[in-house]
């Protein structure tokens, strides 16, 4: 009874959809050289986040050069004609700011958070390294060693890293999506300066990039600054985006298994292929967000927690999530529970859910919660910059970004049911076991 009341209270509180301003302060324009610019005006505090997102990622790694996109991310902190090695990060820190950089399958991004009166300073440096990067042979060699060490730490140094890499490869065979971002050690060790600079010249340019400025700055001021700093940089001929295999359904992929002494208890991860948000067509993705919450958000009332992780269930924990990897189910069997039995209980739970469908009141409640979190996230301007940049480098448009909260709010019981049937009923999944070294009673039975 309480659930029904609270769902009602929350929808009353949030008012009728659509929400007043799904993305307040959002503006977009482009320069003549192809640089896309997005401004998110938020004048509550005199600070800004600048991010430069490039439409290049590990999917663009040339054959035999896995990890090249990620390596370029590191090189971007090396000398340009104007700045010495490491000078950009030092200047940002001396001004009380912070910086970040990361590489994903389809994007490489660089960001600075800094006092608003110093935006011009960081924009000038960001434009400089878009076109003037000139790392010395010695610093390039040193950075190669850094990346190799990073690979060892992240992938070989933790059981999770190795497990995720194998799961991804099994889920996306023969696809750029199945490759690790960081690359293989042998190939990283072979990167030459000529190859790195060829990659840089092909992929780092105004027409491959999206500039996002979020915070206490006006759109006109950003336009003037962007014209001054990026306007003179010429575009490059666009390289074709890497092909993705059309057919990704591959039922019957054998399970993978990683054993490691550092794993405390057996853990099951099953990842289903699942569609991402698509330009103009975000309904199924929105339904999958709601489905993940319904099935396995971190709370005792989720479908999986009730079916699998209760007093008489097979699991200590049972969760679901939806990410760029796919739709993920995660299970930690109780001590003494056979792995095969735990997996069978998971399968039975899924079959029952596909048969019965979701509880409409629970869906209403989750939609309220999702809408609330969409409002709260507007409070974090740096995270707004992240979400916009990620969307625009994933083939979505600003209109998709603005529509997303309303698409989420409009998800119906039928949408969730259809998405569950499409994804969980497809048979297109990979199951992985992360296990302690000694075969434990709770491990898989095969």
């Amino acid at each position: 009874m309480r659930h029904v009341l609270s769902a009602l209270a929350l929808s009353l509180a949030l008012g009728p959809a659509p929400s007043p301003a799904a993305e307040p302060g959002l503006h977009g324009f482009a320069l003549a050289n192809g640089l896309a610019v997005v401004v998110i005006e938020d004048h509550r505090a005199p600070a800004v986040t600048q991010m430069l997102w490039y439409r290049v990622g590990s999917a663009d790694d040339p054959a035999g050069q896995s990890g090249m996109a990620h390596f370029l991310e590191h090189l971007m902190f090396k000398a340009t004609g104007r700045l010495a090695d490491g000078e950009l990060d030092r200047i940002v820190e001396e001004n009380g700011g912070s910086f970040e950089a990361f590489t994903a399958t389809d994007q490489t991004a660089f960001g600075e958070r800094i006092a608003a009166d110093r935006l011009d300073l960081v924009m000038g440096m960001e434009a400089d390294r878009m076109v003037n990067l000139a790392p010395s042979e010695a610093s390039l060699r040193a950075e190669r060693a850094v990346v190799v060490e990073q690979r060892r730490q992240v992938l070989d140094g933790t059981p999770d890293g190795a497990f995720d890499e194998r799961l991804r490869a099994a889920l996306y065979p023969d696809s750029p999506d199945g490759r690790s971002t960081i690359g293989s050690e042998a190939e990283i060790a072979g990167f030459s300066r000529a190859a790195a600079m060829a990659f840089y010249r092909a992929h780092y340019a105004p027409n491959t990039a999206i500039l996002v400025v979020a915070g206490d700055v006006g759109t006109d001021a950003v336009r003037r600054m962007a014209e001054a700093h990026f306007g003179p940089i010429p575009p490059v001929p666009l390289a074709p985006r890497p092909a993705r295999p059309e057919e990704r359904r591959h039922p019957g992929t054998p399970p993978i298994e990683v054993r490691d002494a550092r794993v405390p208890v057996p853990q099951l991860t099953r990842v289903y292929l699942a569609p991402a948000r698509r330009a103009g067509d975000q309904t199924e993705a929105a339904a999958l967000v709601v489905l993940a919450d319904l099935l396995g958000a971190e709370r005792v009332t989720s479908v999986m927690a009730r079916a699998l992780a209760g007093a008489d269930g097979v699991a200590l924990a049972a969760e679901a999530s939806y990410s760029d990897l796919g739709f993920e189910l995660y299970l930690v069997p109780k001590p003494g529970v056979d792995g095969g039995a735990a997996e069978a209980a998971l399968d039975a739970m899924i079959a029952r859910f596909l048969e019965d469908g979701p509880d409409p009141q629970e869906i209403e409640r989750i939609r309220g919660r999702v809408r609330a979190s969409e409002i709260y996230r507007l409070d974090d301007v740096a995270s707004r910059a992240h979400r916009v940049g990620e969307a625009l480098t994933s083939g979505l448009t600003l209109a998709d970004v603005e529509a997303w909260p309303d698409v989420l709010a409009a998800v119906t019981v039928a949408d969730v049911r259809a998405a569950a049937a499409d994804v969980l009923g497809s048979g297109a999944f990979v199951t992985g076991w992360l296990l302690p070294t000694a075969p434990a009673p709770g491990g898989p039975s095969q």
């Binding site: 009341l5 929350l10 929400s19 307040p24 302060g25 505090a45 005199p46 800094i114 006092a115």
Partner: protein
């Protein structure tokens, strides 16, 4: 006591400044006479209310440490007709958050809500502030958590070094006693103690409020009266501001660890003191902030004696310290302390170079705006500024005040802040080559 340091460092930051747009803060007074600082913003339909009840654990009598902190932790564990579970569910149902926490100086209250749930959430906040239940189940659950935290604290050499340092600096003063209490004092707390602490600590006399977000001054006034109006008007007097008793002695606490932890410091600069801004610049150069500092350069970069060394202006409401900490292997501790003392003498004697002063100004004026990162952070800053005793527009004048500091002024304040003869150390570990004035065994 580490929290004391952190709180005060946050205050130190609050005293630096911004440059670009003005941060608009409007003082609002309710029909019932309750004041708040409001930062109004209607583009996002959320509201944050932050409040501070000055005094907090500093009101605990000797032997009763931890009573106010436990009381604060229990405010959202059942109130009015709702038990702990009921209160949590009621908040979850409206996607809102209410938190209470005790610092050495005050009790902090923080409530975040969607605009449309304002009436419901502020009613829950009123209940928690005015009608907490202190149910036996909740009291025992949180007492057990607190005792577990104290046991963990007592097992950590660094925490013990902190406690000993503060006990030396503030004898017979609440700052000399642990905010969260001792195992004995927490075990002895009764429900009556908690009710008495509630009546004493949550009064309108020592209340400061900051509100950020989707509300007008006209709407805020009646809300303030509704939430806070029923609290007692006055309470017990606050502790007196104490002058730290630091004579320059070195104390060693025996701990069987390969690394020694060192807490060091002098008397600090009180909140509201005109020397506070020059002192921030001195601290930034000597050992504060995340920049390259003199201590970092000499101890870490050049000699590898430690992974990190930090200093901060620990200026609380009832006393001020200039504090620092580092750890180093037992074999290297004497060398590290020698360098610390040499840098202390150099700063007291020379002050800052022009280049150092300029770099510190650039850092402090740039760092401050990033503290206002979202509603919760803005509200927290507005409370810190009120506690620092400044007016709302201060936030927009601070950059100018920092830029105006001269090298001569910085040198004068360096001599006041950095006192080599009074530099007091507490070391936990088995340091080699150190002759302590006093030794404690654990």
């Amino acid at each position: 006591m580490i929290r004391a340091l952190l709180l005060a460092i946050a205050l130190g930051m609050a005293a630096s400044n911004s440059a670009q747009a003005a941060i608009a803060i409007v003082p609002v007074t309710s029909p019932g006479g309750i004041s708040a600082w409001l930062s109004e913003e209607h583009t996002i339909p959320i509201l944050t209310i932050e409040a501070s009840f000055l005094g907090g654990p500093a009101l605990d009598a000797a032997g009763h440490e931890g009573t106010t902190a436990l009381m604060a932790d229990l405010l959202d564990e059942g109130a009015g007709g709702l038990d702990a579970q009921g209160f949590a569910t009621a908040l979850e149902d409206v996607a809102a958050g209410i938190r209470f926490a005790a610092s050495p100086d005050d009790i902090r209250v923080s409530a975040t809500m969607l605009s449309g749930t304002r009436d419901r959430v502020t009613e829950l906040l009123r209940l928690a502030l005015t009608e907490p239940r202190f149910d036996a189940e909740a009291v025992e659950r949180l007492r057990a958590q607190t005792l577990a935290g104290i046991a963990q604290r007592d097992a950590e050499p660094q925490a013990e070094a902190n406690l000993v340092f503060f006990a030396q600096a503030f004898p017979d003063h609440p700052y000399g006693r642990p905010t969260e209490g001792t195992a004995a004092s927490v075990a002895a707390i009764t429900a009556e103690d908690l009710r008495a602490a509630h009546t004493a600590a949550l009064t309108r006399e020592h209340l400061r409020i900051a509100v950020v977000g989707d509300i007008t001054p006209g709407e805020l006034g009646p809300l303030l009266d509704r939430v806070f109006g029923a609290l007692p008007a006055t309470g017990p007097s606050l502790p007196l501001v104490a002058l730290p008793q630091l004579s320059g002695k070195t104390t060693v606490i025996d701990a069987d660890t390969p690394q020694s932890v060192v807490i060091f410091g002098n008397a600090g600069i009180p909140i509201g003191d005109p020397d506070f801004i020059p002192a921030m610049l001195v601290n930034t150069v000597l050992g504060g902030g995340s920049l390259a500092t003199r201590l970092g350069e000499e101890m870490r970069v050049k000699r590898g004696l430690t992974y990190g060394v930090n200093t901060g202006l620990a200026s609380g409401q009832f006393g001020a310290l200039y504090l620092g900490a580092f750890s180093s292997s037992n074999a290297h501790i004497a060398e590290a302390i020698g360098i610390l003392r040499a840098e202390w003498r150099r700063m007291a004697g020379e002050g800052l170079s022009d280049a150092e002063l300029a770099a510190a100004k650039r850092y402090l004026t740039g760092e401050f705006p990033l503290r206002f990162d979202g509603s919760g952070d803005i509200a927290e800053q507005l409370i810190n500024l009120q506690l620092a005793g400044v007016d709302p527009d201060y936030v927009n004048r601070r950059s100018g005040l920092i830029e105006a500091v001269t090298a001569a002024e910085a040198a004068r304040v360096a001599r006041r802040l950095v006192q080599p003869a009074a530099l007091t150390l507490v070391i936990a570990g088995r340091p080699q080559g150190i002759a302590p004035a006093s030794a404690l065994s654990r």
